[in-house]
Structure formats: structure tokens, C-alpha cells
């Protein structure tokens, strides 16, 4: 993000965005504190990524396990997990990342600056590291739910 925020402010915006989206869209209550920052997911992952463009810039990544992604899709679409297709799950994870990015951006950006959100991208795989180019900082936050951890990362200009 090109807008400077203190670590405390950034955590407050991220906690509010992730908790609000999971509660309003999925009816899932998640805990922002149990795992602490910089949790690494070792199992296969489903990652939803959305870029923030314009006056505020950055990339927001939502990482969950395949099992968690199925639970989330089942909750949002009100379908049995067995009847969900991969595009259904991708759609839900992408849309969650989109909503979270929009809410974080609203907290970080100053009034009146034009900025937008990209269409979501989904990446699936095991042990996926996103490497930052020079001058880009990774901010990581983790959340807990009975279905497993949720990791939210923000890549921004230092």
C-alpha cells in the first residue's frame, strides 16, 4: 500500500475486515489471536489474491487449506461439500479475498483518492511461497477457526 499505516492500525483494519467478512458472508466466527503473526501453512493451500490499484497499491492474499475452502464454499452457497465443484470453491475464495481487500483498502486510504480492485486470482498448491521484489514488504496475519487456520497477507511498498 502506498498509504502509511502503523502496524497497530494495519492489524486493526485487517482484523475488522476478515472477521466482518467471515461473519457476514459465511456465518463463521474466527479468532484473530490464537496463532499470532507469520504462521506458515504447511499443507496444500487455496490462495485468493486481489490487487489494489490506484492511489493505494498492494496485493492482498487469503490463504486457507482445501478443507477450509470447501467449508467456506459450502457455507456461502448452502450446498453439501460433496456437490461443490472446484470453480464453485474458487469463486467463493476469490470473492472473500475481494471483499476483504475492499474493506482493508477503505481503512487505509485517505479520503477522495481514486483506487480500485482487480478481479481475483486463485492459486492452488503445496508449499507456495510468494517472494517480494525489492521495496515490497510482506505483512502477515493469522486467524483461527475449528476448520483450520486462515492466513491473510498484504504485500505493500515499504
Amino acid at each position: 500500500m502506498s498509504v502509511i499505516a502503523t502496524p497497530q492500525d494495519l492489524k486493526m483494519y485487517v482484523d475488522d475486515a476478515v472477521i466482518t467478512v467471515f461473519e457476514n458472508m459465511l456465518g463463521m466466527m474466527i479468532d484473530p489471536s490464537r496463532y499470532g503473526a507469520n504462521l506458515t501453512l504447511l499443507e496444500p493451500q487455496v490462495i485468493g489474491m486481489v490487487s489494489i490499484t490506484g492511489a493505494t497499491q498492494g496485493v492482498v492474499c487469503l490463504r486457507v487449506s482445501p478443507g477450509f475452502s470447501s467449508e467456506a464454499a459450502s457455507a456461502m452457497l448452502e450446498m453439501d461439500e460433496d456437490s461443490l465443484s472446484e470453480p464453485d470453491i474458487n469463486d467463493v475464495i476469490g470473492e472473500l479475498a475481494n471483499m476483504i481487500a475492499g474493506k482493508i483498502k477503505a481503512g487505509l486510504s485517505t479520503g477522495g483518492e481514486p483506487c480500485g480492485l482487480s478481479l481475483p486470482t486463485i492459486v492452488r498448491g503445496r508449499k507456495i511461497d510468494l517472494e517480494s521484489i525489492s521495496g515490497v514488504k510482506r505483512h502477515s496475519f493469522s486467524f483461527a477457526h475449528d476448520c483450520g487456520p486462515v492466513v491473510l497477507e498484504i504485500y505493500s511498498l515499504e
Partner: protein
């Protein structure tokens, strides 16, 4: 009796599902489209009483779709609720200036869309006894 139609235009099936679920208590027929271009076709075909329109979509985004709806005499009077993940006061004012009736961010309580839909379709809330 003909029930009013509501057209949901959003590339996310998940979001269409959430909004359709929220509006299911209204006696309305829900029609869906996955992008603005398809949405314009559906708007002309069904002439709905209300359109819920996502901002960010492939093929044709919500801004262009809204402009085309409002520029066409066949669809210009249909009220439009803009739906966006991007909570931005300036964007909200721009969309209202282009003719949107309301602007709702996706992280707001989904019931807000129901309230706006009832207002725009001039529907009365169900009496408590009937709802129970």
C-alpha cells in the same frame, strides 16, 4: 398475479447466491447474469423491476453497464442498486450521479439489500403473524 422480477448481475455465483437468498422472502422472480453484457440482454428480455449490479466484472463492468442501462429509454427507469467490494465514498457519489438508486458494499449486512429492494419495489414488510 405477476411477481416483480429482480435481475442480479455479478460474475460471482457465490455473491448471486447470497443476494438471491436474501431476497427470497420477497415474492419476486430472480433472474441472473454473470457479466454486464449478459445483464443488458436479460434487462431487455425481462424488463425487471429492480437490478442489483456488481461494479467489478469481466467482459463489461458495472460502470459501463449502468451507463448503458440509463442511456437506453427501454431500461432507463429501472432502479439499480450498485454492489461493490470497494468501499469508497467518492465512487458511491459517482454511481449515484450516474443514476444508481443505492450503492451497497459487499461487506455491509446483506439485509441492507433487502431493505433497499423493498423500498424500490414499493413492497410492504410481511406482518409478523404472516411471517411466523
Amino acid at each position: 398475479m405477476n411477481h416483480p422480477k429482480i435481475l442480479l448481475i455479478d460474475d460471482s455465483r457465490a455473491t448471486r447466491s447470497v443476494v438471491a437468498k436474501m431476497l427470497s422472502g420477497l415474492q419476486c422472480e430472480i433472474v441472473e447474469a454473470a457479466n454486464g453484457a449478459l445483464g443488458l440482454d436479460q434487462a431487455h428480455l425481462h424488463l425487471p423491476g429492480l437490478i442489483v449490479l456488481d461494479m467489478t466484472m469481466p467482459v463489461m463492468d458495472g460502470v459501463e453497464t449502468l451507463e448503458r442501462l440509463k442511456a437506453d429509454p427501454a431500461t432507463s427507469a429501472i432502479p439499480v442498486i450498485m454492489l461493490s467490494a470497494n468501499s469508497n465514498a467518492e465512487e458511491m457519489e459517482q454511481m449515484k450521479a450516474r443514476g444508481a438508486a443505492h450503492y451497497v458494499t459487499k461487506t455491509q449486512k446483506p439485509k441492507l439489500i433487502l431493505d433497499y429492494a423493498m423500498e424500490l419495489l414499493k413492497l410492504e414488510p410481511k406482518p409478523v403473524a404472516e411471517a411466523a
